[in-house]
Symmetry: C2
Subunit: 352 residues, 2 copies
């Protein structure tokens, strides 16, 4: 058991997230401005800077957990937060590249309370702008021109490959009758853990940290990512649409084999078996797209009865604990450690 | 006028292309093997290594001009061709990433005489595998870990950004009534010139060439790319489907504002005006998808009558000449110069 750190309670999470957002925003905007029209406008729409008609907007650009982590990452290596900014922006670009492509592949029509890019600007723009953001991420890092920047780009590229592997696994799971809890965790580690891990190492690498330090920071980020995703999976079924910006029962509508579903199916017992039969019938049903709220609510209740909700809640706590433990493997300023700890706490209790 | 180089006539183009293919193939295959299933199989299908049922195939993997250029690029800097191999593979991965995404965006159903990936494996796999090949390209270069590899990756990233810009321009042109010849050339420079330019510099950069040498090699590659694209535009209208593997009048069916079309529209005169009226009506026509062969043949005849075919043929020759001229700005072994010259000659006379 790690002794409690009283400094954690004094961390202002909102201010920490806002610092990440504020310091990375101008660099992110300048990067997006490099894109040829109409990709610059499509990207600006995606980030919430303009609306579908091209008018300035002050949209929800996401929680901005990754930029906050990238700046703390630089500070963990004893550098100024400014050193982490290109890393923060590069990770944010890769994250948004994946959102643009995943929303199209998954047929998601809403994100951050707004129509998704493919819905407003068509599939071709979603593909193109996603590609462009991925390329921009590498460009931004590589034009720094240092050995550290090369190492940072390599880590980002590895994380991006895992992220793509994870999306491939996620898609393949939707067509499979059974997925084990282990397979689901591997998928989520690729899809969410790898890029969060990179966010936590990239600032340190840009600040000159060695590979061992970067790897240990990545261990914290990876397990933080798994905790983050477990919470996301809970919100994907039981989240409040007003908070999440997604439809009710969002993940069930998409037949996602997320952690609560997979854990419920693995649990055994009457609710688990009934759920298994229902989901099997759903996979072959032609009426699935016209299912009522009640039909999804019934499936959610079975998942809960079979223990999938409780297991996933506990899993988030387990991954949170492993993440915090990893933090102790790196020598860093105590204030930075307190802030990273507080961010991990925030990720587990968030409602959106 | 550059004096003729008698060594050019003795270059065996088929052997040069085969060398590029043979030396890069094992590295390309090993890279693709890193992908998580089913992306590895989807990529293998795209490259023609297996058929749609997963059986081994010996498909047409393309002309392989880029790998041949990347190996010569290393030799131009005095290095062995082996030094250029990771560059050859990285460029080939980026090229194929763009083919996978472009075929989907453009709705192209055939490539290299076979159904395209999105047609066989669905749009999601085309997006995912494209993304994965792009990431692999960077991974392959960056894991070399040298300063030169970082510089090579930066050049490849810049080229990829231009390639994406070019595809964005190409798509936007399809919805516009008029496109100038200059706009078309800019688009083609981005879409084709930039990556060919990178193929010609990447081996040299990996071999330790300075930026000035790399830039001059890129000038050759860029104009070679424009010559290549001019020929592609001619083949896209008048090419033999048995050779190109595409439909008859392929670019006309897609309403592509390619060079012959744009030049014909800019030429003025009766044929040019009639063509303009027809294409304007086509853009609003609901029957376009059911047009007969004769209707496309008539449009092709008007393009030719207005001078678009002849202008594009001459443009290929002009760009070829500029490319050859640029070659003389780099000090390199005469045999390599002869091979690069012969490759430029080949690009202009090819039938596929």
């Amino acid at each position: 058991m790690t002794p409690a750190n009283p400094a954690v309670d004094t961390v202002d999470i909102a201010a920490l997230l806002e610092r990440g957002r504020a310091m990375s925003a101008p660099v992110l905007r300048a990067a997006v401005d490099r894109l040829a029209p109409p990709m610059d406008s499509v990207a600006a729409y995606h980030f919430g800077w303009i609306d579908a008609q091209g008018r300035p907007a002050d949209g929800d650009g996401g929680k901005a957990v990754r930029p906050a982590l990238a700046l703390l990452s630089a500070e963990a290596a004893g550098a100024t937060p400014e050193v982490g900014v290109p890393g923060a922006v590069a990770v944010e670009l890769v994250h948004n590249f994946s959102l643009l492509h995943d929303d199209l592949m998954d047929g998601d029509e809403q994100r951050r309370h707004r129509d998704t890019v493919w819905k407003v600007h068509g599939p071709a723009q979603a593909i193109l702008v996603g590609d462009a953001l991925f390329a921009l991420a590498n460009e931004l890092l590589l034009e720094i021109g240092t050995v550290e920047a090369g190492r940072a780009t390599r880590r980002l590229t590895t994380a991006t490959r895992k992220l793509i592997d994870g999306q491939a696994q996620d898609i393949s799971f939707e067509h499979r009758e059974r997925v084990t809890v282990e397979e689901c965790l591997e998928m989520e580690g690729n899809k969410t853990g790898a890029l969060l891990a990179c966010a936590v190492s990239i600032g340190a690498v840009l600040g000159g940290a060695d590979d061992k330090t970067a790897d240990t920071l990545e261990a914290y980020g990876y397990h933080l990512g798994l905790a983050f995703q477990a919470v996301d999976d809970l919100l994907g079924i039981w989240g409040d649409p007003d908070s999440t910006g997604k439809q009710t029962w969002s993940d069930l509508r998409q037949r996602k084999k997320s952690l609560p579903v997979v854990a419920a199916l693995a649990a055994g017992g009457p609710a688990s078996e009934k759920l298994g039969e229902l989901l099997k019938a759903d996979a072959e049903s032609h009426d699935f797209d016209t299912f009522s709220e009640e039909e999804f609510a019934m499936r959610a209740a079975l998942i809960e009865e079979a223990g999938g909700r409780e297991w996933t809640t506990q899993e988030a706590r387990r991954q949170h604990a492993v993440a915090i433990e990893a933090l102790h493997g790196v020598d860093m300023p105590e204030q930075v450690r307190a802030q990273l700890t507080a961010l991990a706490d925030f990720v587990v209790v968030r409602k959106r």
